[in-house]
Amino acid sequence: MTSHLKTILLVEDTEDDIVLTQRAMKKSKILNDLAIARDGQEALDYLFCQGAHAGRNKNETPAVILLDLKLPKVDGMQVLQRLRSDPALKYVPVVILTSSKEQEDLLNGYKFGANSYIRKPVDFEQFAQAVQHMGLYWLLMNETPSRSSAF
């Protein structure tokens, strides 16, 4: 493991939820940088290093992507499908973080290759706990294939 912490990408359009996620991460001592995309198109621009993010190095993939589903312009499912069809982004862990508990979203999320699905609870303590578990699992426990072995 490198000492340099990889960035976490948060794809979220609600400002309140962005602030609350940042607070929950701070409380869970997750120290990774947080990149924020406020709609699906911005998320794709970030991941594919295009548009406003054209200068970014595509090899620096996020440690984990926290993806809301209901987003302006391009929705979360479409973002997920796009990045799962890209060889370089295929293995990046994606955690769907959404308000919806609809069965269809859950099934589609897994079908399109999400690694886990967290329903944002109303209660902040539960929310902070969910973020902490997410961080523990995807940032510490989980081993993703290194780039050399992925090809």
């Binding site: 309140d16 609350l20 308000s99 902040f124």
Partner: protein, 259 residues
Amino acid sequence: MAVAFLICGALISRMTRRMRLVIEDAQASAELKRTNKELEAFSYSVSHDLRTPLRAIDGFSHALAEEYGDKLDEEGKEYLRRVRAGCTRMGQLIDDILALSRVIRQQMKSEAVDLASLARSVAETLAQADPDRKVDVKTCERLPVRGDAGLLRIALENLLGNAWKFTRKKPDARIEFGSLEKDGERVFFVKDNGAGFDMAYVDKLFGAFQRLHDAKDFPGTGIGLATVHRIIQRHGGRIWAEGKMEEGSSFYFTIKEAP
């Protein structure tokens, strides 16, 4: 010739009438589909959009209490606690309304279901969530029916959950689930020796948002029995209840047996 013409005319007019009926039927079914789709979009929006601001209210009240708590006196802290309790309650209401709407719009399955083992599994979950309670739950061996297992589970969760809740103050809490034969019909029942209810209000029991007990003693949103009612209706059955204050309640339901 004129007769043939008349017959032809009558036939054509009858056919047009029939065709109009067919077209109206198709329109009604298209309309129904559209309404269903709209209802689905509506519940999705309720689920997602109503919860988002609620999360903000709860989250920032939490932040305020934690980071600025030393600037608040006890009364101020109590207000914040009430704000957060309100959020939890509204979150629960939204979830229950959604569960009710899902029960109404969901496609029904017809499968073999053993209500007795379903009831045992629900009772186990209740006991696990509330390990300090001692409740004597009785079910019979097997109660096979045909119906939608998911929906019937929700119905039993509500009925047994209520029995569990309303026996809270009884030291010898008892719940029984079983069936009896009445006028050649199989009737299922959930009985408890809990708080019961006043039969004067029995008509209100199955209406959404109706509560017969005070929220402090027995918390709830008042949507549970409305949900059960819908589920039993969708199974072609009936549901009714009997109760006596402080002595207990009995809920009875039937399910239309497949021919």
